[in-house]
């Protein structure tokens, strides 16, 4: 059996990649995708722990996370669509009306 630390390290790397991409990427869609990556890293962690602990509840949490992520995606994409329509750009640096 694969030891749990493999899964944990993998999900930590995925989460870290998500954080890095969130900070350094410039396209709004890409930033949004990095958030999804982070959420999926969390899902992997939940499932791995659930398996290691021999409890099912961790897998049920994943269901909740998936549903919430889908709802977030629907709202997020709608907001991004509004931006694209009103500003004609998806570059985060050009969406900057609200600055000091």
């Amino acid at each position: 059996m694969v030891p749990i630390s493999y899964y944990l390290v993998l999900s930590a790397i995925l989460f870290g990649l998500g954080v890095v991409a969130f900070i350094f990427k410039r396209n709004i869609i890409t930033i949004f995708m990095s958030i999804e990556l982070m959420l999926n890293a969390v899902n992997l962690t939940f499932v791995a722990f659930s398996r290691a602990l021999g409890k099912l509840d961790g897998q049920v949490f994943v269901f909740f996370v998936i549903v919430v992520a889908a709802a977030e995606a629907a709202v997020g994409l709608a907001i991004i669509l509004l931006i694209a329509r009103n500003q004609q750009s998806l570059n985060i640096e050009r969406v900057n009306l609200l600055k000091l």
Binding site: V2, Y6, F63, V67, A70, A73, L81
Partner: protein, 123 residues
């Protein structure tokens, strides 16, 4: 233990390398040795014998997006039926009523969408 564990995968790795190498060699040989007489018809993308029309990368209507999003939402919400079905026998009537309420809430969302015209393609 983990060392042994990785060793189990060694044949897979070798297989992967051999397959990639073989494919590379074949492609390389055919480019070096073969004749090349490109014609217009040969360079066209293959699309089941039908002549391709237009560009595949043109923007498409927002309507697709809306329908896709609605589909995803309802599809994902059905996820809760699986754990529910798994313990359905233990839940008895309580589980039945709970799921009925859940479906009714989804139905409310559906009615809302319908009345708002989100399902009307021609709007």
């Amino acid at each position: 233990m983990s060392g042994d564990y990785l060793q189990n995968y060694a044949p897979l790795l070798i297989h992967l390398l051999v397959a990639m190498g073989l494919a590379g060699i074949i492609l390389l040989l055919s480019t070096i040795v073969g004749y090349h007489r490109p014609t217009r018809a040969k360079l066209q993308p293959y699309e089941c014998g039908v002549r391709p029309t237009g560009d595949a990368r043109e923007p498409f209507s927002v309507k697709f997006y809306l329908v896709a999003m609605v589909f995803i939402l309802f599809d994902v919400e059905a996820i809760f039926l699986y754990p529910w079905a798994y313990i359905y026998r233990d839940l008895h009537w309580f589980g039945f009523v709970e799921m009925l309420l859940y479906i009714l809430i989804l139905l409310a969302g559906y009615i809302y969408l319908w009345k708002k015209g989100a399902l009307d393609w021609n709007r």
